[in-house]
């Protein structure tokens, strides 16, 4: 057993921590939150230059990482700094699916992604699908050598910035069958694609995407007809490791801010951290934080295994993070008091990142259900 990061990952972590602490302070981030784009293209370009995007892809795909621990290393640092730039959507979900399924032509896009000159979005969730990954009502019909897409996609994160969308659509089967789901890679401005964009509660932007008689060619297909679910669930598993690691990083920041506040804020003539009622709660937070760290390590370390074993660990991590994250977010706010309720204080954003991450790809309860179904309990 060895729980140390490799030298390369340690360097990546150091680089990111230095870059983000210098270039991504609260004021900078809050300005990004208020911006129309919802992310900073300058920060994005710098992250690409530092190799942060490349770290999320394997050497075969033009990067220099791509394994579970690369993802967890990168996202823990992003979470620590409360970064809202869409690495999950462009790199892990969009880029990851192209790397996994794309033909040579489609894979050419990977270079742009790693270089930071292209954004992607995964248009998979639908108004009625909630957290059910195989519920796809959007239809793809073949007509005279063309494919016609019709449907609605919900809360498509990063859709407006994306040059291309990875769209899931059903070609056969019942609406919640795993078989029959196909993926298509199409320019976001294809005729018939329309978006209603909006900002997200914890930063960044998303859109409701309507697909009305969107006509595309066979060459837009990503992977085999009706056979995309396996790759989709693999990349969503990677995305969930990213989300769990990001929440872990944010939880570390919440705990650090709280610890500092307890030691400096004085009421009744002494630091509030001298009250045992708060000391024990701070101790509980640290216990949960170590649990969360181990859960992320377990999930990242099992990401390349067969689906049931992989997903069991992913669900375990996200269930634990869901519980520990809520505790740490709420207790951090409570022990700070009013100051943590203000938007300009760092903790407010960090707490939102932690809690709202529970709303992507399955909340705490849904993860518990999956864990039970996979024979984990």
């Amino acid at each position: 057993m060895n729980f140390e990061l490799t030298e390369e990952r340690q360097m990546l972590q150091d680089t990111m921590r230095r870059f983000l602490s210098e270039r991504y302070d609260t004021a900078t981030r809050n300005a990004i939150l208020d911006s129309e784009e919802g992310y900073s293209s300058e920060i994005w370009a710098q992250m690409a230059e530092l190799g942060i995007i490349g770290a999320l892809f394997s050497e075969d795909d033009g990067g220099f990482g791509g394994a579970g621990f690369d993802i967890s290393t990168v996202f823990e640092e992003l979470g620590r700094a409360g970064v809202v730039e869409p690495l999950l959507d462009t790199a892990i979900l969009g880029g990851g699916l192209i790397a996994r399924l794309g033909d040579d032509g489609q894979r050419e896009m990977l270079e742009d992604i790693i270089a930071g000159s292209r954004h992607l979005a995964l248009a998979h969730g639908e108004p009625a699908s909630r957290y059910d990954l195989s519920r796809v009502e959007t239809r793809a019909e073949s007509r005279e050598g063309k494919i016609i897409l019709n449907g609605r996609k919900a809360v498509v994160v990063n859709a407006e910035a994306a040059s291309h969308l990875v769209v899931s659509a059903r070609e056969s089967g019942a609406i919640d069958d795993e078989t029959g789901i196909s993926l298509f890679l199409l320019p976001a401005d294809t005729l018939g694609v329309s978006m209603r964009g909006y900002s997200l509660f914890s930063g960044g932007r998303a859109a409701e995407v309507s697909l009305d008689d969107v006509e595309i060619g066979e060459e837009a297909r990503l992977g085999a007809m009706g056979g995309a679910f396996k790759a989709l669930s693999s990349q969503i598993a990677a995305g969930q490791v990213a989300l769990a690691a990001e929440a872990l990083g944010a939880m570390e920041t919440a705990a650090t801010l709280t610890r500092e506040y307890l030691m400096t804020r004085k009421q009744f003539g002494r630091p509030i951290g001298s009250f045992q009622a708060l000391q024990h709660r701070m101790a509980d937070m640290m216990i949960e934080l170590e649990q969360a760290r181990s859960a992320v390590i377990l999930a990242a370390g099992h990401l390349s295994e067969a689906a049931p074993e992989r997903d069991r660990h992913v669900s375990a991590a996200r269930n634990l993070i869901g519980r520990a994250g809520r505790l740490i977010a709420e207790e951090s706010i409570q022990m700070h008091g009013g100051i943590a309720m203000t938007q300009e204080y760092e903790l407010a954003h960090i707490a939102k990142r932690i809690v709202m991450s529970d709303h992507r790809f399955g909340d705490t309860d849904t993860q518990l259900e999956r864990f039970i179904a996979l024979g984990g309990a």
Binding site: R130, S199, Q267, Q334, G338, Q343, K352, M356, T366
Partner: protein, 399 residues
């Protein structure tokens, strides 16, 4: 032991329900139900409707234009109002300042201010907390120095709720720095138009401008705006806090929130089936409902005691702690129930100008979850309340 309401109380509930059916404007209840932030005009409108009926001041004696309801009647009114999604009565003038003026104010102050509170002419805000004086309120530093017929006030107040709508502020100020903290505080009434006052909005984490900082720079306040005696302000402040705590359990709010979560969970589909039938979600919901049923009864037990003239002691602290835990748990359940559609930032929607992105019920859930973290912080944090309970229980024991 009899768990039923009296005939009079049942008749009173019917009367309240009938009034709300008839007089509560649909635009207002729709706004409250969907979590839209109410404007000053919305609040003023509802206050005026209640005032016309004579129901704006449930806790005031009749001689001042109140309805002199007992604790059970007030509870019934609050419960029915929450159920009907009526706006809450803005408490600063009506249930915080007014009782202080009635007990400690001069005749001139009562005659001048009380009718203006009822008519809506004055909107009061509260100048209590300061950046360095939160839970430890008695350490407040805002100074008032006597200069002829005026006090000159310098300092800063914070967390002033809806101060942006107010034309008056009641403040705790330090008038003596040479005595024990609690003994050098006075209670001043200040016109917000006085030169030297600046109101700066604080943006909360859900984006709403609900609270403010209020800065005082050489603000001249006439001596006749002192309530009661100089340096007795702490006594008045504590008296005010007992009134702030009359609806401390928030039973009505929680009942309305529970009903709303149930409605959401019946519409939401989880793996194609109603979320309300999902065992994990149903278990969470049932546990809160069980807690709420018991707390509603605890609340009634304490109210009955109060109605019989016994002053509630630690019980109000217990209700504050349990009541806020239950409300926050319900806010958490609403956020969970909304699923991915809790993620859109609904500020545009909540201004009432745009259609919600997903189902209307999902739009305010994240904002409400975060905004209501304040419930366990303000009005004496839950840590302060637990301290009061523990101190009372263990008095004379472990030191």
């Amino acid at each position: 032991m009899d768990l039923s309401y009296t005939q009079d109380e049942i008749a009173f509930r019917e009367e309240v329900r009938g009034f709300l059916d008839e007089k509560l404007p649909e635009e207002l209840s729709a706004k409250v139900a969907s979590g839209v932030v109410l404007s000053k005009a919305d609040h003023d409108r509802w206050h005026a409707i209640l005032n016309e009926k004579g129901w704006l001041a449930p806790n005031w004696p009749e001689e001042y234009g109140g309805c002199a309801w007992n604790a059970v009647q007030r509870h019934i009114f609050e419960e029915e109002s929450a159920r009907a999604n009526a706006p809450r009565i803005v408490p600063f003038g009506l249930s915080m300042l007014a009782p202080v003026l009635m007990k400690f104010g001069s005749d001139a102050q009562r005659d001048h201010y009380l009718p203006r509170i009822l008519s809506g002419e004055d909107w009061w805000c509260q100048g209590y907390s300061e950046p360095g004086a939160g839970s430890d309120l008695a350490s407040l530093k805002t100074r008032a120095v006597r200069d002829g017929d005026d006090y000159i006030v310098n300092g800063q107040k914070t967390w002033t709720t809806l101060g942006q709508y107010a034309n008056k502020i009641f403040c705790l100020v330090r008038t003596d720095t040479n005595v024990k903290q609690q003994e050098g505080i006075s209670f001043l009434l200040i016109d917000m138009d006085t030169p030297g006052i600046e109101v700066r909005p604080i943006k909360l984490l859900d984006g709403t401008p609900e609270v403010n900082e209020v800065w005082f720079t050489d603000v001249r306040v006439p001596v006749e705006n002192l309530v009661g005696e100089e340096n007795m302000g702490w006594t008045y402040a504590k008296y005010l806090l007992t009134h702030e705590r009359t609806n401390i359990a928030g039973v009505g709010f929680s009942q309305a929130a529970l009903a709303s979560v149930k409605r959401m969970a019946r519409q939401e589909r989880h793996n194609g089936k109603p979320l309300i039938g999902n065992p994990h979600f149903a278990a969470r919901l049932a546990q809160v409902e069980i807690d709420l049923m018991a707390m509603a009864t605890t609340n009634l037990r304490i109210i009955s005691k109060a109605a019989a003239g016994q002053a509630p002691g630690v019980e109000s602290s217990m209700l504050k702690v349990k009541g806020t835990i239950i409300r926050q748990e319900l806010n958490d359940l609403a956020r969970r129930a909304a699923g991915p559609y809790a993620m859109p930032f609904a500020s545009e929607t909540l201004d009432g100008d745009n259609d919600p992105v997903g189902p209307g019920y999902a739009a305010p859930t994240a904002a409400k979850y975060f905004n209501n973290r304040k419930l366990s912080i303000f009005g004496g944090s839950n840590e302060i309340q637990r301290g009061i309970i523990a101190k009372t229980l263990l008095a004379g024991g472990a030191k």
